[in-house]
């Protein structure tokens, strides 16, 4: 926090709503931080001498004669190597009982990387999960969310991915995490002996929701320090971005802005883009990869939050329970990694793109066969075979408990193709069929 020299104190509060306080003040900068009776707040509007503050902890109990102290600047984080291994709240204050951090003070939510200085992402991130590595390959510098219903084990999958990815630092931005989930992350990271390369900024369900709005920027400011200053590869985990967006709508609705779809602010796209676009491959080797969670309600991806997210991120990983095999799978239809083209068949075996597409196409045939079956029609021999394939494919490849290397995923898929189909049914380039086809009974 800034030193006393910058502080200006006012007491003339003119208006209080659930999330905002307005007062008469001068010499205040847009976006500046303030405290109201120790509560943090930020300037969101100035008209003449009337300044409106968004109060992160909510305005309960704030009296009209409260003391408002302006702190001279936007929210900041102290960055240095001391961040590693530490747990912080949304304001960047330690919550692990450890000492305060020494370091350079940086404003959070800083400027964007000049697009011409970016490098094209090209490092494959292997997770061992075939639903990801085979069908939706991740690349460092990418930004991608899990789309999942609230009852799915997304935090577990994300923790697995984070630990298997070879990142120099893992930064967790937790928004509205339950205390149990917070402890879960702490424990898996600890068990993996990875705590020293993890940094966490956590807002739990016990903290005021508006505080969440600071979490992504805090996490990404720390990420930029390690990626830009230290040329490290940094993986940022943001969970749950739906709760972040909900907090945005709380603030904007209380500021009487006209809501757009699903009572979200009209600026939702820009607000989310500002966060996700921090993912980058830097010219000097550092990178920031963002893996996020966007929880859905009832699998509805047309809701404004997943919809805007999908337009921003480089794909999405859609988790779904497959009752046929009793497992959670990465759904190949709605999932997509937009950066996979940069690595598959280049950093992986050259049959990768064709095998991947062929298997998904055949899986789609199985879906059609299932519809037929459900409508009570006779199934052809091909239908039966595609259904049998789908079952194998789902449990051996798509399930999130799979943990194998990429070559093995490819071999395994060829095996399944050979087991259930004829060569001419798979529509793969002949040169690959010649090399990899395995006839089976």
């Amino acid at each position: 926090m800034a030193t006393k020299a910058f502080q200006k104190i006012f007491t003339k509060i003119t208006q209080i709503t659930k999330a905002t306080v307005s007062l008469q003040a001068d010499g205040v900068g847009y976006g500046e931080l303030a405290t109201i009776q120790g509560q943090l707040a930020q300037v969101v509007k100035i008209i003449g001498d009337e300044v409106t503050l968004q109060v992160f902890g909510g305005t309960e109990g704030i009296p009209t004669n409260a003391e408002v102290i302006f702190l001279g600047g936007a929210p900041t984080l102290k960055v240095s190597d001391q961040l590693a291994g530490r747990f912080f709240n949304a304001f960047g204050k330690p919550i692990d009982g450890g000492p305060e951090i020494d370091g350079t003070v940086v404003e959070i939510g800083g400027p964007s990387v000049n697009p011409v200085r970016r490098k094209q992402p090209s490092e494959l991130i292997a997770t061992g999960i075939a639903g990801i590595d085979l069908n939706n390959t991740l690349v460092s510098g990418q930004k991608i969310p899990f789309f999942a219903d609230p009852d799915q084990p997304f935090n577990q999958v994300m923790a697995n991915v984070a630990l298997r990815a070879k990142a120099d630092k893992i930064i967790l931005g937790g928004m509205g995490l339950t205390n149990d989930d917070y402890l879960y992350f702490k424990q898996v990271f600890d068990n993996a002996g990875a705590l020293d390369r993890i940094i966490s900024f956590v807002n739990t369900t016990e903290n005021p929701p508006v505080e969440r709005l600071l979490v992504p920027d805090m996490a990404l400011t720390a990420a930029e320090y390690f990626a830009v200053e230290k040329n490290e590869s940094v993986l940022v985990l943001l969970t749950d971005m739906t709760l972040y967006a909900d907090a945005l709508s709380i603030v904007s609705n209380r500021m009487d802005q006209i809501p757009s779809k699903d009572s979200m602010p009209g600026s939702l796209y820009s607000d989310l883009a500002k966060i996700y676009e921090k993912a980058v491959q830097l010219p000097d080797g550092g990178s920031i990869t963002i893996i996020a969670v966007t929880t859905l309600s009832g699998g509805d991806i047309t809701h404004a939050i997943p919809d805007n997210t999908g337009y921003i991120t480089e794909g999405q990983l859609f988790l779904r329970s497959d009752s046929d095999v009793g497992k959670v799978i990465v759904d190949p239809f709605r999932s997509l990694s937009r950066l996979k083209q940069l690595v598959i068949g280049k950093k992986t075996r050259k049959d990768h793109p064709q095998v991947m597409n062929a298997a998904v196409r055949l899986y789609a045939d199985a879906a059609n066969a299932r519809t037929k079956m459900e409508n009570g029609f006779d199934l052809s021999d091909y239908d039966e075979r595609s259904l049998a394939f789908a079952k194998d494919y789902s449990s051996d490849i798509l399930a999130i408990d799979v943990n194998i290397g990429t070559e093995e995923m490819l071999d395994q898929t060829w095996k399944l193709l050979g087991k259930h189909f004829k060569k001419e049914e798979v529509g793969i380039r002949e040169e690959f069929v010649k090399e990899y086809w395995t006839e089976q009974e």
Binding site: G29, Y30, V44, K45, I46, I47, G48, G73, A74, E107, P111, S112, V113, N114, P115, V116, R117, R118, K119, Q120, G141, V228, Q257, I258, P259, S260, K261, G266, S267, Y269, S270, K274, E277, V280, T302, A304, D307, I312, E314, G315, Q316, R334, L336, R338, Q341, P353, V360, R361, A364, K372, F377, D378, S380, D381, Y382, E424, E425, G427, R429, E430
Partner: protein
């Protein structure tokens, strides 16, 4: 314009700032707001009494009441001259490569051209010639394009050429000609000029209906719903259905002289892809590097929102500049919805009465005025020039009944609707062949042109193909209701014929070096092949034989698509196909 006013900041709501001005200001005038030692550019968007509302093209963090404002006396304008090609600009035409450091700095504005570069000039006009705005005075070679040095577009009326500088090497600020106006005053002209982006450049004689096919190499466009030089089109689709991939494919492959790409509020990595690939890839029509003909306006989603709106206008003005040189310009904007959203954000801050989905009421007019700036023209010297414009639209929730899609549908003549289910089934490009359309197919001018370019049977054949696709869809719906054995074997054949068209003509792998771009000659060849096959009579004993058989046929045709045209491999597959066809045809 007028004496530039000064002012002070009296209100700040995000990037909407209220300024009290000392003198007259104009709507859309540019001003600069001083915040500490930075000058932040802004544009006047509304004036009420003494209060001037400006949208700031930067973050307003740290701005204070009382900050000084200086008005510039002109609207938002671009600088036009040789050196625009191969440049990477932001939405306000700042040269991104000239900026220092990895991060963008607020208030860092860079000159869009190069003062020191020398250009090889050749005069075109002679002393005594009568000229007007847009007349060609000379030309320089810009990346192998004849870049015309023109009478600035702001010049009104006619002028007489007093002198044109002789051939040689010159810089952009050198005087290239001296013109004399009706009052006898001498006016020097350099290689550079400025133009306000929100005004259309209309230095042409007439704007006829466009009629010439613009070859894109994308089969489902060129063959099924062609776009023309000077035409307009739009690509709506939910996220992930292939808007950007399709636009990139078109900008790589289309037979255009100049390509202007506006990356408007979308992902930075997609622009990086262009930065990385275009210097390596070659223009299939000229063999030269793609970067040489391309200019990129990058205002990605994390860059200032207000500059998003500017970015599409900047791109359009640059396109109009090159069209005035008699060139074929292709302009792409991805995505026009982000521009509309920027308008919505500002309109909401201004507390204007909202239209549908909280977009501004005049959104339809803004969109149609913009699309109207594209087109095929005859310049005042009789030479043709064109701007073909294709925008993407990102409908919220994938629902095409939303204001941006609906407004664009009224403005654009080609509709390429991307379909979620096609994308899910990896049937790329996911353009729905039945709902999409090209109005140009109805133009007699186009019919005449295509009869000349391909043959007079062509359009008939394409119509028949569309009918077969439609029939195939109907049959598949019936099979879904009645079951495989609830319809006759003929129906199955009908369905599979439409699948052949889908898999071989419509589907195209944008990431396969051979399949990605299909010449018109090759498109014709494959259409003939597929239609011949559709005209054959097939005999099957049961419906169960139909699918497996046609899968083999499709497989062979696809192998042909993946092979070099008319190569040995290509002919081998063709031969195999012929043999396969004799098995069951009568």
């Amino acid at each position: 314009m007028h004496m530039a006013a000064k002012g002070k900041v009296v209100g700040i709501i995000s990037n909407l700032v209220v300024v009290e001005a000392t003198d007259a200001v104009a709507q859309n005038e540019i001003c600069f707001i001083k915040v500490d030692d930075e000058q932040l550019m802004a544009e006047v968007i509304k004036v009420i009494g003494k209060s001037v509302y400006v949208q700031v093209f930067e973050s307003t963090r740290g701005m204070k009441i009382g900050n000084d404002v200086e008005f510039a006396g002109h609207m938002l304008e671009v600088t036009l001259g040789p050196g625009i090609l191969s440049k990477n600009y932001d939405g306000l035409q700042n040269d991104l490569d000239k900026m220092e450091g990895v991060f963008l700095k607020r208030g860092d504005y860079t000159f869009p051209l190069d003062h020191d570069k020398e250009w090889d000039f050749k005069p075109l006009a002679k002393p005594g010639d009568t000229v007007q705005a847009g007349s060609w005075l000379g030309e320089v070679d810009e990346n192998f394009q004849p870049h015309k040095i023109m009478v600035p577009f702001v010049f009104e009326g006619t002028y007489t050429v007093k002198s044109v500088t002789e051939a040689g090497k010159y810089k952009i600020a050198d005087t290239m000609a001296i013109l004399v106006n009706s009052k006898g005053e001498e006016i020097p002209v350099t290689m550079m000029q400025k133009w306000p982006v929100k005004k259309a450049i209309t230095a042409y004689k007439e704007k006829p209906r466009p009629f010439k096919l613009l070859e894109t190499g994308v089969r489902t466009i060129d063959t099924i719903n062609p776009i023309v030089e000077g035409g307009t089109g739009f690509i709506p689709g939910p996220f992930g259905t292939g808007k950007t991939v399709l636009q990139h494919a078109i900008s790589k492959q289309a037979e255009a002289d100049i390509v202007v790409i506006a990356a408007c509020g979308e992902r930075a990595n997609e622009v990086v892809e262009i930065f990385t690939e275009f210097p390596e890839l070659v223009d299939p029509h000229t063999g030269r590097k793609l970067t040489e003909r391309t200019t990129i306006i990058a205002n990605t989603s994390n860059m200032p929102v207000a500059a998003r709106e500017a970015s599409v206008y900047t791109a359009m003005t640059i396109s109009e500049y090159y069209r005035s040189m008699g060139l074929r310009v292709l302009m792409m904007a991805d995505s026009t919805s982000r521009w509309a959203q920027a308008l919505r954000e500002m309109s909401n801050r201004l507390e204007e009465l909202p239209g549908p989905d909280a977009f501004p009421m005049d959104l339809p007019a803004i969109i149609s005025n913009f699309y109207a700036r594209a087109g095929y023209v005859y310049l005042n010297n009789g030479k043709p020039g064109s701007i073909t414009f294709i925008g993407t639209v990102s409908p919220a929730g994938g629902n095409l009944k939303e204001p941006v899609t609906e407004s664009t549908k009224k403005a654009a003549r080609c509709f390429y609707a991307l379909q979620q289910s096609r994308a899910d089934g990896k049937r790329y490009p996911a353009i729905n062949p039945i709902e999409s359309y090209s109005k140009y197919l109805e133009y007699p001018e186009f019919e005449e042109y295509i009869a000349e370019r391909i043959n007079d049977q062509w359009l008939g054949k394409i119509n028949e193909m569309k009918t077969l696709l439609q029939r195939g869809l109907e049959v598949s719906e019936q099979i879904n209701i009645l079951g495989d054995d609830g319809v006759s074997v003929d129906y199955h054949v009908r369905f599979w014929k439409s699948e052949v068209i889908d898999f071989v003509i419509l589907q195209q792998d944008a990431f396969d070096s051979i399949d990605a771009v299909t010449s018109l000659e090759r498109q014709e060849y494959m259409v003939n092949k597929v239609m011949d096959l559709c005209h054959m009579e097939y005999t099957f004993d049961s419906f169960a034989e139909v699918g497996p058989y046609f899968k083999r046929v499709i497989n062979l045709l696809r192998q042909m698509n993946y092979s070099e045209f008319k190569s040995e491999k290509f002919y081998n597959y063709e031969k195999e196909l012929k043999e396969t066809l004799t098995e069951v045809t009568v």
